[in-house]
Structures are given as structure tokens and as C-alpha cells.
Symmetry: C2
DNA sequence: CGCCCCTTTGAGAGCGCTCTCAGGTTGTGT
DNA sequence: ACACAACCTGAGAGCGCTCTCAAAGGGGCG
């Protein structure tokens, strides 16, 4: 903190007006005569006046800050560019509105109380949360504190879908998955496996649903005849929402955790169960890179023997050998949307807002 | 912000004491009789009292928050797990001290004024900055605002080394580079190229220096006879510090930018200049992955024809084919150190602090 | 027994800002 | 010329908390 920062009072004295007038000018200057406004601006510039945020917050009850909560107790966050990208979008939108970004990492479960206290403590005006798992306590904490929240990805806790005014930004995961699988079918692949994400997240559930729907529609066989994939759970009961894995072809599914290592393991599992498979759709690029490694280790050529399609289209998709065919989603743009949505909500405008769901598109590279 | 949060006054009334006493209890309770202390604690619990941070800040002049400034106008940040990892370390240390982390991205040069205003505005008690380029205006802004700063990586602006009380956490980049190159020499490689990072960052300069020193000591040839590497600048005049590329073997050097694409280009350049090279030391894992791709494209086998060593030992190093031999640095730990150092500085303790330089170590995998 | 000192508590003055409200000035309509 | 409205401006009351300072209470000691 610099030495003695000038106060409103000082500026007022210098400009020869009252504190109130300076305050008005500093906050937009509505209803102040031109000449005075200029005089005040000059005084502000000369003194290098910067408003004291604490004093302001004390009376307005607005902090001008928003929390971004990253809840990934598993250290996935740190190898996944997904969060970094989304953060960039969020940061840009917030900066444009002169709103600060307070970053909250939930490193392990012991952090929850601290985070809860923080959210309840009036340090921020609202919060952005993403990639929540089904039973995450964060939404409850925020609700209790009366904190406006915008979610990244459709929330999946029981009853979430029915909640009025629930705000989130998501991509149409189901459609994206269908895109991927139809592409594979179109290239003549018939035994298509799926490496799912953690099935307590809606994005993973929806992608699985898309995979099954496309398979059913395309009439191709995943693991035709076998009754569902061993490693796959079916999304659980509490979720009758759009993304329910629901009907469709059972397929050939192994559950990963969105990490490369998880992709590696899941791929090995699929290979063990269906040595003749000729394609895999992984629910994330990172898992696809793992799959690539396992395939290579097992002597399968990509895409000659097995085609691979990922999801996300982040940098790592272009680093692999061969580069990944993948489903593109505008991650940064989703971050921007989330921030704008929250800002609008905080602005207190009367307009109702609805969740935003963006449309993914397929990017064809060399892996499938 | 939740409905009507109880104030100190309310707690005081409930406990039948004065505001001052409640304040004392809330802030540690020194000098308050046991019975009263308990009574106050009970009242706090019953009312669910949480101190108003703004009011506190207004009088104490302490915000309890620290800024983390990420200044990478080029979008490198978003594919580089380096920052995410460091952030995790920082976040953990700050959380332990109940200090908030305000994240400031500098997305492009136009953001600087906003950031400057923020730093000068008393929103935070101190700042953490990393990977600054030589001419970054941030340190100047912070200094002007009288804001305590801890740097990640030895600052490189002219005269920085001479600045008293300059606080930073770095790894011994030079030693790390020597480790890498000596390893290659030890395996019989003789024509060793180097893909440098942007030479306006000390880490890149120091690694280049280590490469040259090891080469000179080892008596091996980089580009023996040729006068320095075409793409390499020598770190510029203003930097007589430990990391000066200084003497040593000129080597065979191409400058990258710490990104995979940069690594790709630099590798192509090296290959063009020295088709017979048998090893490359890249100043980051990400550049090494790019180099791997270029080598593959040129039909070179790794490590049979060309050995590759990276730097950082972050996740991507294990994702490549073959997995990268690389120089490990404890990135998360460095983040933790930075945060602790700043916290100590803010604590106002009298103990002088010195910069911290950690020791890297070599991790041998399959690429070289 | 009286004095002094130490511990514990409360009163009250701000921290810097916003915002309401009243007072002053200027302009318009009749 | 007067009433009235519209527009500007300033005074002042807090926002919730910390911290100084003085008062009150309790012992120990001469």
C-alpha cells in the first residue's frame, strides 16, 4: 500500500467543492455542471486519486469481485488446459467490467469449510463454479449464503434441472458425441468403443448418451450382444434430464477420469474386452492421448487399425502423433459467457436469463 | 451477499459486553477474561457472525489479499501447465494463511494501465509475478505503488541484480542445463544442439549459459567452428548477473518461445544448419515435444538418431513418445515458497530475507 | 490502612466513502 | 413580476470495525 493516498476530501479541497460532488464525478458525473466536473477531474489527476475500495464496499455492500471456484480435489486441473482456457475467457469478461477475479482452489476435501466461510463472508458478489461432481457441497453452501452463482456445465445434483433460475453455460455434449460417432460410422468403422469421463459429471454422462444414440441410429455394433460395458455405470437414478444415457445401443464403454493415465487404462480395458475394435471415441482429448499410447503399446496403428476421436480440441490435440480428430467446443467463449451471465445477474436487471448451450463441431485431423 | 448479516454490535448486545471486547475476542482474545471470552464465542456462534472484511480493511489498511499477476500477452499460459502448477502451490500457501488470491491476467498490452491502477489502488497487500520479460512495466508500477512483490524467476531488468531487498524464487537454471548436457555428453553424444527459450527471460538465458558451459567443459562440438548460432542473441548487454551466457562454447542454438510450435520451428532450423546433430537440449518440455514432432517428420528416430532432453518435468513430458528425459524442478514447491516469502514480508517481521534458488535434478526417461 | 500498579473493560473517535435531504440557483409559464 | 419546477450542490449521517485512552476493579506492599 502506498504512503498516504489522497482521499475524496483532499480532492474536494483542491477542486474547491464538496466531497459529495467529487463522489458524483468519480462515479460517472451525472448531474454535475460541466465546469465543476472538469475541475474535479483535474484535481483527481493532479493528486493521483484512486478511490478506496474498502470504504466503498462498506457502504455500497458491493465488493466488485467475483469468486471462481475450481473444485478438483484430484489434481486433474493442473495438467488440463481446459480450466486455464476457461479462466482466460472469464478473466477477460470480468476485466472489461472492472470486476476482480478471486481464485479459490479446492485442493482437498478439508478445504470446503474454508471456502464456505469465504463465500458466506461477503467477500465477493457472486461465484463461478465448474465441472462440479454430483455430490459437491459447494452449490449448497452458496445457496445458503444467498450468493448468485453461474455454473460451467449443467449441474447434475438431484433436482437441479427443476430448479428455477438456475444459471449455467454448457455445450451440447450429447450432440458433440453424436457428431464424433457418426463420423466414425461414416468412415466405415463398426466396432466403436467409448472412453467415458467420470460419470458423476453431466458432461461425461451426456457424451456417453450421445455415443449410444449415434450407435443405435447407425445400426453399428459396439459390443453387440454383450449387455452393457463392464466398467460403465449408467449415470445413476437421480438424473432424468436431457443428458440421461437412456436408451440407445449399450455400446462398448470404459470409464476414465479425464486424465491421460485414465485414458490409458480405459483403452487397455476396451482392448481386452474387444480386441477387434476398430475405433474409439474418448470423452476428452487428454484421455485420447492416453488411448493413443496404449494402442501403440499394443501394436495397433492409428488410424489404420483403430481410429481415435477426442473431445475438447485443446492444444494437446494437435501435439499428438497423429494429431487428433476431435470435437471442438469454444472453451474460452464459454468462460466469457459465464462471466457475462453472472455480471448481468449481479447488475440486478429485471430480464430473466436462461442457460446457454453452445453447439460443438467436429474437427477432422489424422487420428480418425 | 446474504440478507442481514449480524454485526459486532449485535454480538456485543447478545453477549452483554461492549463492541471493543467482542472485537478483541474475535481477533485472538488476548487480555479478555476467560468467562467473557466464552460468552462472546457463544454469541458469535449463535448469530453466525462473520466479520465484515471491508470494514476491517478500512481501518487496518490490510486487505488480506494478494495479487498473482500472470503476464503472458502471448497465449502461452494456456497450454503450459507450468503456471497452473505454480498457482496450485501459491494457492495452498495463501489459503493456509487465510489470504485471498486475486488473479490478474494480462491478456494484451492494453491491460497494463488497468493492472497498474489495480495495484496502486490498495486492493491487495502484495503481489506475486512470474516469468516477466525484460522490459515488462509491471515491476515499475508495483514499485511506484509501494507494493511488496515477490518474483518467480530471477528478474532480468537492467540493474535488477543490484537492487537491495529484491525477493524472488528461482531454480538454478544454469546448473539444470549443465546436468542435461553433461548427461548427453556422457552418453556419447557429440553434436548437441540447443533450443533456447525467449532470451529476454532470465530462465532462458541461464539455461543457454549452462548449455554452453557444459559444452565447453566437455570438449564436445555443438557447431564447432561456426560463430554462434544464427537465431540466438546473447542475452543483451544489461545483464552481468549470474546467468550471463558469457563464455563457453558458442554451441548450436535456435531460439524458441517455450511453446510446442516454437520448438518445432527451432528444431527445423537446427536440422537445417546441422543435419548431423545427434542430440538436442530444449529449454522446456513443451518445446521438446515440438522438436520430437519435427524430428519424426524428418525421419529421425529418437533417441537412436537424435537424443532429446527437455526441461521442467511437467505432465506433457510423460505423454510423449518416447517419454522425455528432462530436468525436474519443483514448480509447485516454488509457488509455495513465493507465497510464503511474500507472507513473511507482509508480516513485517524484521528478519531479512534472501532470494531462494532451488536445485534441479535430471530425470532420465527414454528420449535421451 | 492507604497507595500504586496491573489487568480488564468500555466509550468514542475515526477509517474513506455513498447517499439522502435540504437549501440555493436558474429557468419557465402566466 | 411572481410562483413553481428543475437542476445543482453541500451538509451530515452512517456503513462495521479497530484502537486509543481512560476508568474501574483487585491485589500486593509499605
Amino acid at each position: 500500500m502506498s504512503g498516504n493516498r489522497p482521499t475524496l476530501e483532499a480532492v474536494a479541497a483542491r477542486a474547491g467543492v464538496s466531497r459529495a460532488t467529487v463522489s458524483r464525478v468519480v462515479n460517472g458525473g451525472a448531474g454535475v455542471r460541466e465546469t465543476l466536473r472538469e475541475r474535479v477531474h483535474r484535481a483527481v489527476a493532479e493528486l493521483g486519486y484512486v478511490p478506496n475500495q474498502a470504504a466503498r464496499t462498506l457502504v455500497t455492500r458491493r465488493t466488485g469481485a467475483v469468486a471462481v471456484v475450481i473444485a478438483e480435489p484430484e489434481s486433474r486441473v493442473f495438467s488440463d488446459p481446459f480450466f486455464a482456457r476457461q479462466l482466460r475467457g472469464i478473466s477477460g469478461a470480468l476485466a472489461a467490467a472492472d470486476t476482480q477475479l478471486v481464485l479459490l482452489y479446492v485442493a482437498d476435501r478439508e478445504d470446503y469449510p474454508r471456502i464456505g466461510r469465504f463465500l458466506a463472508g461477503g467477500h465477493v458478489d457472486g461465484a463461478l463454479m465448474f465441472s462440479l461432481h454430483r455430490d459437491d457441497p459447494l452449490p449448497g453452501m452458496a445457496a445458503e449464503a444467498g450468493l448468485p452463482v453461474v455454473y460451467g456445465g449443467r449441474p447434475g445434483w438431484p433436482g437441479a434441472a427443476a430448479e428455477p433460475g438456475l444459471l449455467y453455460v454448457d455445450t451440447d455434449n450429447r450432440a458433440g458425441a453424436e457428431l464424433a460417432v457418426r463420423h466414425l460410422l461414416g468412415r466405415g468403422r463398426r466396432r466403436i468403443g467409448h472412453i467415458a469421463g467420470p460419470l458423476d459429471q453431466t458432461s461425461a454422462v451426456d457424451r456417453l448418451a450421445g455415443y449410444r444414440a449415434a450407435l443405435a441410429a447407425g445400426g453399428a455394433a459396439g459390443e453387440a450382444g454383450e449387455a452393457g460395458g463392464g466398467g460403465a455405470s449408467y449415470g445413476g437414478p437421480g438424473d432424468p434430464a436431457p443428458g440421461h444415457p437412456g436408451p440407445g445401443h449399450p455400446g462398448l464403454v470404459a470409464e476414465g477420469d479425464f486424465t491421460p493415465a485414465g485414458g490409458e487404462r480405459a483403452m487397455a480395458e476396451l482392448l481386452a474386452r474387444a480386441p477387434a475394435l476398430d475405433a474409439v471415441f474418448a470423452a476428452s482429448d487428454l484421455m485420447a492421448t492416453g488411448a493413443l499410447r496404449t494402442l501403440r503399446a499394443h501394436g495397433r496403428r492409428v488410424p489404420d487399425d483403430v481410429a481415435v476421436v477426442g473431445y475438447d480440441d485443446l492444444e494437446p490435440a494437435t501435439w499428438t502423433e497423429p494429431p487428433l480428430t476431435t470435437v471442438h467446443q469454444d472453451v474460452e467463449g464459454m468462460g466469457t459467457s459465464m462471466a457475462r451471465m453472472l455480471l448481468r445477474r449481479l447488475g440486478g436487471g429485471p430480464e430473466r436469463q436462461d442457460p446457454v448451450v453452445t453447439t460443438p463441431r467436429l474437427v477432422v485431423r489424422e487420428s480418425g
